[in-house]
Subunit: 211 residues, 2 copies
């Protein structure tokens, strides 16, 4: 019954990361960044992210430090929010904010003919305190966030995780983040997604922890 | 301002599916199955799923029909649940059930030394009525589901969407589904995930609808 051996959750995760290390091979990531890259591969089984993930200098360290100090997280979708380990985040004092499903956001988006994601970033810009943005889906959210930052209309986030997925405005939205945000983690190209955004945030939360 | 042109949500989705159709090229899918494949590519920007997604005969039609008749959905994670369009599902009379986050599931998993996902499938097996399973993450959930089906310990689901992602027991868990379930959609190999599971379910919900 070899399979049963791997039904213990901690064993499954440890063995998964062993396989990822073997197949990833030599790389140039520092050890904190390596943890983020590996957790994204763990969540996607897609080694392409080892080439497409781009980190501003010290992004992982800044992000982890901010979360440890109680920074709140803004996500573009309820899926990203669902994927974040809120037990660990809450222990640091953080909370997740997702405005996209609010009825009045939907109403405003309809009347303006824009995406709910765009309006939800305008709501997030009004939040006080240090923030980490985790955008896994909506390029319009990321584009609006960059516009608000460029206009000085909101406080610079501690970190922007910009990993939308898709075919329209997605590549461009990530290029904007690299220009507009101080600290960022993006997945260049079309790939990304809610699971990638949540994996990055969780890797930051787990950094140096024994869980 | 060409970019603003694409801030209208319906335009973004239509243009995305145009691009997917162009790049996917000729294929052998019937038109209902094609919609599912394209929605998975839309959610992942990964055309590999056009080769790895496997459908039992009529799986898409069975699944769509069951959901239209009010079948409930069981997911392995709250992320999959978050990604499902519950407005459309609810209009058909369906609900989403996710047991993995229940405190007593966690307690039982700890005491037995198994994953919460495994225990959550045992809970799902007790549900009455027609069910669609959407497993995007946990191979242990899928394996336990197949064991319960093989043992005749639960009603055969209308459809099993088996698309866990990862490195340990993942490939094998999907092979089991192809043997144990009557109607199934699986992603062969390591890839899959919550976004893939939700995209498949949503494609079934949207089939033949004008949304």
């Amino acid at each position: 019954m070899e399979r049963l051996e791997f039904e213990r959750p901690a064993d499954i995760e440890a063995r998964s990361f062993q396989i990822i290390s073997q197949e990833l091979g030599p790389h140039g990531f520092d050890s904190a960044t390596e943890q983020v890259v590996k957790r994204v591969i763990h969540a996607t089984a897609d080694f392409e992210f080892a080439r497409t993930l781009v980190f501003s200098d010290g992004a992982v360290q800044y992000g982890a430090k901010a979360l440890r100090a109680g920074a709140h997280i803004v996500t573009d979708t309820t899926m990203v929010a669902a994927g974040i380990n809120k037990r660990v985040l809450g222990a640091f004092g953080g909370e997740v904010h997702t405005f996209v499903a609010d009825p009045d956001v939907a109403e405003e988006a309809r009347s303006r003919g824009v995406t709910r994601s765009l309006v939800s970033m305008e709501r997030a810009a009004r939040l006080d305190g240090p923030l980490v943005f985790a955008i896994g889906n909506a390029p319009t959210a990321l584009i609006r966030l960059c516009e608000l930052l460029d206009a000085g209309a909101m406080r610079m986030p501690e970190l922007v995780v910009g990993v939308p997925v898709g075919f329209v405005n997605v590549v461009e939205s990530k290029e904007l983040v690299e220009k507009s945000a101080k600290n960022y983690i993006v997945s260049r190209g079309r790939k990304g997604g809610s699971t990638v955004a949540a994996a990055i945030v969780n890797a930051l939360l787990y950094l140096d922890s024994r869980r």
